[in-house]
Symmetry: D2
Subunit: 377 residues, 4 copies
């Protein structure tokens, strides 16, 4: 693991998600750019000190030399955005598979470079847009794919949070610090951190790609350097329309990622904070609540659920589902097999599209919330 | 009553709302442009045939001549939009108070003319933006006014319906017929019919006025002549931002008018389909659900509630609350008293702003969803 | 109207419910046992003073003498329980139809006498168990009747309120006063006031009759003279089991009448505070939310709904639905026609069963919460 | 681990819960009474075949001989109920700490014996009543303890499931098989499996102990040997009253454990299927929704939450919280330290009380749902 030391949030999430199903074990890490801090974090995690490194470069060098039996199957990168590309590039080129936190990179150019490296090295790169790991999200996609929803007309996706309603980054809070810092986070704040999740979720469920958009980003908290709120009108290729809004100043909201999809035959509604349910609405029959763990769900989704119906799964299980798929791909790569055909995880292609989204919303907003074509991938 | 005969929807609503509290009685009407139909509707309602008219002109003429004791206190106009201005003008000029269904008129120019007539005649004109009659909406406004919410940063209002997902107007359905007909409905379909409710609700609760907007309207159903969906980005005077979307092709949604208001101190959330509750969210304390009928609500709102807590009130009671206020204004006018200072109903000023909203969203959309300044009132 | 003067709650509800659909008009009343208070209430309601009476006896005498054209079609009795039987008897015997608030009478013996009088006079008696007027409750009954639910195994009905958590009757609050007074309310407090609603609702939806029960009633508030909480185990004829609990000390709950019915083929769930929805649960398909106003509901229930889907109806509309059916029966009686076959309102038979319920739960509890057979009707 | 091999449900849950926080590792097991099946399960789990045993006796013998460095810190027993006591006794007497699935034993006598063994061996025994691991349940207990709720008057706990609505045990389904078999499950079916969770949850949150109860158990599915439904009236020591009902024939319900607690100052409501929220209701202020992960929760509960607010935790995290506390106790025992004072997990005392609950409800029901005193612990 690269990053994810003391004080980090997403590192611990990755660790739980990766080990939950007993298929992986953490054995090495460079948990901080500060070598001492990295070692302390390694000790917290009871790792062999010999495999806790002062920097990711050191780690790549040392681990690449290990014998096959001890060799890492994959590396997880959970650093701030500006430190995604360099270690990802290095480990891929050293022959390691990579699990990478979102958004893919610092900017679009880096994402395209990374895509080229993945293609060249033929290694596995998994991008942890974790919300697509939710089994009811997968069921929603299934209902789009199997024609239940019909051609899609409209998508409303929203992601309000309230935790940055105040000038939190000035209190020394680590998460707020880097996420609002353009040097570490990139061109966007809120839209990069969570707007990309919203964009990715729409694409995952509906298969729609953005044709053009008009984004009005705002920095409400005085002194903040990046946007903390953004409202976007979207036109999808093929004629569907969309509304996408995300916010970190929506006071009192926690992590309220919601999506509604409206087709000509049915409407779908999923809410991240109540992830075990998916509402399906029809024109002329009662609306339905599909619930996780039931026999009427698509059979091939069975591998993404651990508990019977009514025993709530949550964020970690969804995250672990990304890992389950990562492991299938990685196992094939390690064993030199062809990857399974039904792999279901976000890739560097999603990453490029996500970075294009960030670049476009920022540019649109800077030009006065002007409509812009979405750049070709 | 003008309009509201057989086959109409809103006429019956007005009749129930107006009589619910025992303060008014229906005594005369011109229920249809078709004289026979008008008479049949009058008979349905057990009216004295002498006071059922073949046209509103006939009615205005006859009723104006009645002795004071028999004189109508007010006239209710519930015709399609193109037939709002002519009878409103006539009755006001004949000295009658008027209750007028929304949107105010066929277009902005008419609304401004009507405003001038109201000012000149000094009669009461009540515009039935009924959702502002909900007592929990009034409580939301109170929480903005008393500083609980703090300065407002963002407003999200949405009004999805699904009833026009198909080409319903071609089946002869009366409601669909006129509401999608530019000759009777005006420049907008969905945005005129329900988008204006959304705009009005924001203004009522927050007091915010639109500075500029960018609207992307769509007609999804082939053959339809007016928009059946619209997504709007809004900038309010003073710096707040907003998202407003309304739809009549959001399949499976019924009448899901929802509003969320985010201030620096609290967030509010109200959902029309569950109107007895108002959620108030804070940064650092549990979120609250305020429920109708409780002692902790603003005392002056007591007059807008009929039932104890837990005995659900709904759409009709909210509508009747508009009438309760109308009656207070009308009684004062009839008795030559000054109007009470705390009157709380939508006026022709709201009507002008609503028509300006329609005009602006249509124009913005026609120009490619371009940002436009909101016209001065 | 008998009772329902100043300070009453249910009188105003009856007045709104009765006039809501424009089919009735209040013309006479004896609104209080105190003649002056009765007259004041009549004046509040703008009645002809000649038809406002100092006592119900006076009213019966005078109104019985009026010519046919002016004759009351029915009388509404909304007095406390101990004043149900005397006026009901008198008016029925004077040839008037009667609408009577629940519970039917002061005790079971009176209820049986009243039943005999109804049978003898052949007048209409409508008992306002208003919750059965809810259209989604009617739909629930329909799903039992048409076999969707299958044979019923279990029913859970609960009715928690919290308004009597303190010794409110000592503050002079009028509602608390009579409802906790055994001289005016009868043998039971909470179980008489709302437990009977719960019992009636089960019977209405399921058609089940109680075979035996075991009731544990409690008076939690010191000084109170009647039960303010009761928990009942029920065995229904035919083998179904039930739980029925009601409370007026369930602090923070308002009027939370909920029912769940479990059959061999489906389960039903309806919550009074959100009355526009009915949840239907199946073994092997997604659960459904049936919503008021939709085309998939039983067509014959159309007459019990006034508004399109998504425009919430509430307590008053349900109450008005009882009146709508009352009017159909009364019109037939007044016109000497046979009553329609599909009349759907609670009768004196329901009243007798409700009073038997009260008598049995009180007796069971007094004997140490012992199982008792339900008395034959 | 004892039990939990192929086809089991709760074994996998224990494995995930135990390793989630990186504090434990599975190293040995006797996963089935069938030795071959045990070995196959061990292989599934990638264990060292040398530490996979054909029976728990074999395992106890072999593991007890291992050197201190390799010694198991604790043993997890997840067999059907009739196989709880024998291995628990053996491992405790061999000096191992034990984590034991609920209900504690096959019958009350065994539970008391086990209590004596625990006291004598001074080893740690943790009983996995997992629902008390939910952090919002812990917060509910805190609100009772700190006086927010006031003296408790009433508790309503319900646990409806629908999965045994049909004669599932005859299809060979393993879970249904042993849970409905009196030889493996004990005297009760539904009440033993989930009724005990309900009883335990009440006691955990409120601290109330049952004084007497009246239980009406039913076997609805023909051919089934144990109860599949039970309704219980409860009187708690000190005067509170309760309703407890549990069911496995509540068709369409999944795992709907809900609890409502009513005190003189506030009411609480928690629903297991939406475990991140706790509703707190007051007499004269808006009801509150307390949500997991927020700063206003009791600070000492911080150790039971892994994710920020709005990132839903579920069943596994609650289960893992039981393990977190188990680990604190076990670590102290292993290191010869005094146990921490604030340990928070269910013990054998809870187990005895749970088995007494089963014994009493069964006896009450057999005697015609008679009131019985709860036996002294």
């Amino acid at each position: 693991m690269i990053g994810g030391g003391r004080g980090a949030f997403i590192g611990a999430v990755h660790r739980i998600a990766a080990i939950m199903d007993g298929q992986a074990q953490l054995v090495a890490g460079a948990f901080s750019a500060d070598a001492a801090r990295s070692r302390a974090s390694g000790a917290d995690l009871c790792l062999d000190p010999a495999r806790v490194y002062g920097s990711y470069r050191e780690m790549a060098q040392a681990e690449a030399l290990r014998p096959a039996a001890e060799r890492l199957d994959f590396v997880v990168i959970v650093t701030p955005n500006h430190q995604h590309f360099p270690p990802a590039k290095l480990f891929l080129e050293c022959g390691f598979n990579v699990v990478l936190d979102k958004p893919a990179t610092f900017d679009l150019a880096e994402a395209k470079k990374l895509r080229a490296i993945v293609r060249k090295t033929k290694k596995v790169l998994v991008l942890t847009h974790n919300y697509t790991g939710n089994v009811m999200v997968k069921q929603a996609r299934e209902l789009v794919r199997n024609g239940t929803v019909g051609p899609i007309r409209k998508v409303v996706v929203e992601y309000p949070q309230g935790w940055l309603s105040t000038f939190l980054e000035q209190t020394g809070q680590k998460q707020a610090g880097w996420r609002t810092d353009p040097k570490r986070s990139g061109a966007a704040g809120c839209m990069g951190d969570i707007g990309t999740h919203a964009e990715n979720l729409v694409r995952y469920i509906t298969g729609l790609h953005i044709e053009s958009l008009c984004a009005d980003l705002t920095t409400f908290v005085r002194g903040r350097k990046l946007d903390d709120d953004g409202n976007v009108l979207v036109r999808y290729r093929g004629g569907a329309k969309g509304v996408l809004h995300a916010s970190q100043i929506s006071l009192g909201d926690e992590n309220m990622l919601n999506i509604r999809v409206y087709g000509t035959k049915a409407g779908l509604e999923w809410r991240q904070e109540f992830p075990n349910e998916l509402v399906v609405k029809y024109a002329d029959q009662p609306r339905q609540t599909w619930r996780r763990g039931n026999g009427y769900l698509a059979p091939h989704l069975g591998r993404f659920t651990r508990l019977p119906a009514g025993h709530p799964e949550g964020y970690l299980e969804a995250f672990a589902n990304i890992y389950l798929e990562a492991f299938r791909a990685i196992a094939a790569e390690v064993e030199g097999r062809r990857p399974p055909k039904d792999l279901d995880f976000p890739t560097i292609d999603d990453g490029v599209e996500g970075m294009a989204f960030i670049a476009t919303v920022v540019r649109s907003s800077q030009r006065g919330a002007k409509w812009l074509k979405f750049p070709p991938a």
